[in-house]
């Protein structure tokens, strides 16, 4: 049960932005620009970084919903997402993306541990300043979202509710991050 009175039946971040829409609006704008705006990283790659960080933070709602969005965006190669979560170093992704996921993992744990060597390795695989910047900001942003969603104990469909998350993934992969409409419910 959520720690505060949130709109009933609405999961995760959606319940929080309905609780406080004035802070919700910039949160959704940030997600949209960061994950769908102009970047050298594809939306699928960016969703993968978001998923990986949310997975490391053990945030069920964020990791399952962004995994579903990444699967939707990876289309025929949707198994990539689960292979990355299992062991990204041996997943069928580029060396550049592997080195960026290493940086994202360090940001999740303790950002001060992102080393010059980590960054040099990413550059050796072709990562640009913007690739590195966007990776760090996506990782940092999801450390915020994960804490917001779990810190207030929002509800989430069970991990194995594949269809609930697939629906979210399709929405995130098509219309992107748009504020939910207020529910005309009891609260």
């Amino acid at each position: 049960m959520p720690h505060i009175s949130l709109p009933e039946g609405v999961p995760g971040i959606r319940s929080l932005v309905l609780f406080r829409p004035d802070t919700g609006q910039p949160l959704y704008e940030l997600a949209q620009i960061l994950l769908r705006g102009e970047s050298p990283l594809s939306p699928a790659e960016r969703e993968l970084i978001a998923t990986y960080v949310s997975f490391l933070n053990a945030c069920v709602f964020c990791s399952c919903s962004h995994a579903a969005a990444a699967r939707y965006l990876y289309k025929d190669e949707q198994q990539t997402v689960d292979l990355v979560l299992e062991d990204y170093q041996n997943a069928p992704i580029s060396d550049k993306l592997k080195s960026l996921l290493t940086i994202a993992g360090r940001v999740q744990k303790d950002a001060r541990t992102v080393s010059t060597d980590d960054v040099a390795l990413a550059r050796s695989f072709g990562a640009t300043d913007r690739d590195i910047h966007d990776t760090v900001l996506i990782a940092a942003t999801f450390c915020m979202f994960n804490r917001y969603v779990d810190g207030l104990a929002t509800i989430a469909p069970a991990k194995d509710d594949i269809s609930a998350y697939a629906q979210m993934g399709e929405r995130m992969g098509t219309i992107g991050y748009v504020m939910p409409k207020p529910v005309s419910a009891s609260v």
Binding site: P26, L30, R106, H133, N146
Partner: protein, 186 residues
């Protein structure tokens, strides 16, 4: 040295926010609403939450900057220092102690916030909105701390820098300066 090229006259967070202004805009708006908008928590109390989280993340830039802002808003430096050392014995209200305890749990992982921690805050009179804002401020500063340290932006050592920054945060707030930051070039 930063991991990516940033404007030399803009250490800490400012160079990052100027590096990519389209993502900076909603981050700035969110911060302004949360830390300076209408709230039953004072601006000083909200800066204490930001400072505690930054301190626990060992982000020197954010800790020093928000300590400067909190000190200005509270008109003294003892409270913020005491909050960082041990908020349970700091000269703040019982409600603030309970909210700072929630923020400290959020800093570790959102999942660590227990029903007991929330019940304690409610018993001390905290509203749902205050608990919400505490969690979101704590989460937002995890973003800031990780952004600043993950890209190794420069942390000035001159105390005068933080005095000026604290004054800017208190007197202007978190929105981008209307004319940008070129006037800060030496």
């Amino acid at each position: 040295m930063p991991h990516i090229p940033l404007e030399e006259h803009l250490p800490g967070i400012t160079g990052l926010l100027e590096y990519r202004q389209d993502t900076a805009a909603p981050i700035r708006v969110l911060t302004q609403i949360l830390l300076r908008g209408d709230s039953t928590l004072t601006q000083g109390e909200r800066e204490l939450i930001a400072t505690l989280v930054s301190y626990r993340n060992q982000c020197r830039f954010c800790t020093t900057a928000h300590t400067a802002a909190a000190d200005l808003l509270l008109n003294e430096a003892e409270t913020c220092e005491a909050v960082k050392q041990d908020f349970e014995t700091a000269p703040v209200s019982e409600k603030m102690k309970a909210l700072l305890a929630i923020a400290a749990l959020v800093q570790q992982n959102g999942k660590n916030v227990t029903t007991e921690a929330v019940d304690r805050a409610k018993k001390e009179g905290a509203t749902d909105m205050e608990i919400h804002d505490t969690v979101l401020i704590a989460s937002l500063f995890c973003l800031y701390n990780k952004y600043v340290d993950g890209l190794a932006s420069v942390t000035p050592t001159d105390p005068a820098f933080y005095t000026r920054l604290g004054e800017r945060i208190v007197n202007h707030g978190y929105t981008r300066l209307p004319g940008g930051y070129d006037h800060l070039k030496k």
